[in-house]
Amino acid sequence: MGFFTRKRSASSAKERLQLVLVHDRTDLTPAQLEALKDDLLKAISRYIEIDADAVQIGVERDGRSQRLVADIPLKSVTNQRAG
């Protein structure tokens, strides 16, 4: 990366703080969040087939509150039959 494309430190300060505040506020470590994701996916998979590679689960901030946001694409039954 050249001088002009180097990311300045304020941006990394903000990104790092965004992450650390989510964990501070929820008392959830990154490892626990991973475990939660796995459990969630296992539970859902018992009922319906999901596209595990495209799953996105994370904590988002909204002012001072956080929400767990999950985007879990389902595999379509017709695709499966065709495949």
Binding site: A10, K14, L17, R61, R64
Partner: protein, 265 residues
């Protein structure tokens, strides 16, 4: 009179709580209100030196609590502003000498005779912090645009919410607008976005703050100081006035243009 109790806190130490208390108390007293400030940092007394009152201390807050003197006797009147008082912290090592209910009682006794009671909280989230917020009607959280200070401020805001002391207002202290412009310091907008609370003032980094505390004369008494102006504005906002936020960009604005023309830095 029924005083409003304002507590200034931060989580992290060294971000400018004591400076903020000394300046806000002084500017509000300069506006003609009666202000009592209380140093809540038991064992690490500091507000007295920043206000230039260290040679006048006879009694402190622990003397009041333990009945060695009357509340009035522990109130030190300021040298220049007769409506400004300080109740100093004790230098005792016993951090449990003060309890939250002691603070509530002292503030209750002071309320009828003052317009504002401003409490300087110690750093941290332990007993001294709990004491400082116990009687608060309003809490001001001071932070610097820096990762550790912002993180600790967020922690404190979370505790205030849990304690039902919600809606704290934020003072962003020591903002260096040249660094912000270079994208090497979190901007006020970044800090506000991260913390998600209301803003009451942005104080620019300003060497006159150090000069002021060297002399025991808070920077609000210096009409030329930019930080002094920012604190004077916060003082007005605490009194219910609507004051627009200052233009902090050193390279732009009418203010700098005038300064450049008059040859002042």
């Amino acid at each position: 009179m029924t005083a409003q109790v304002i507590t200034v806190t931060s989580g992290k130490g060294g971000v400018g709580k004591t400076t903020a208390v000394a300046n806000l108390a002084t500017t509000i007293a300069m506006d003609g209100k009666r202000v009592v400030c209380i140093d809540g940092d038991i064992g690490l007394r500091n507000l007295d030196v920043v206000m230039g009152l260290e040679n006048r201390i006879v009694y402190d807050i622990v003397d009041v609590i333990e009945g060695r003197c009357k509340l009035r006797q522990a109130m030190i009147r300021d040298k220049h502003y007769p409506e400004l008082y300080l109740i100093p912290a004790a230098q005792t090592r016993d951090k449990n000498a003060v309890s939250p209910s002691d603070m509530v009682r002292i503030c209750k006794d002071l309320r009828p005779d003052a317009d504002f009671i401003i409490i300087d909280s110690p750093a941290g989230i332990e007993r001294g912090f709990r004491n400082a917020i116990a009687a608060a009607d309003r809490v001001l959280v001071v932070t610097n645009p820096e990762v550790s200070a912002v993180r600790d401020a967020d922690r404190v805001v979370g505790i205030l919410e849990a304690e039902g002391k919600g809606n704290p207002a934020l003072i962003i202290n020591r903002l260096n607008s040249a660094l912000v412009k270079n994208n090497d310091m979190l901007s006020a907008e970044d800090v506000l976005d991260l913390l998600g609370i209301q803003l009451i003032g942005i104080v620019p980094e300003d060497e006159s703050v150090i000069i002021g505390s060297n002399r025991g004369a808070p920077v609000v008494t210096d009409p030329k100081s930019r930080a002094g102006m920012a604190f004077r504005n916060i003082g007005k906002r605490l009194q219910g006035e609507e004051v627009p936020f200052m233009d902090l960009d050193p390279q732009s604005g009418l203010w700098t243009a005038i300064q450049r023309l008059t040859g002042r830095k």
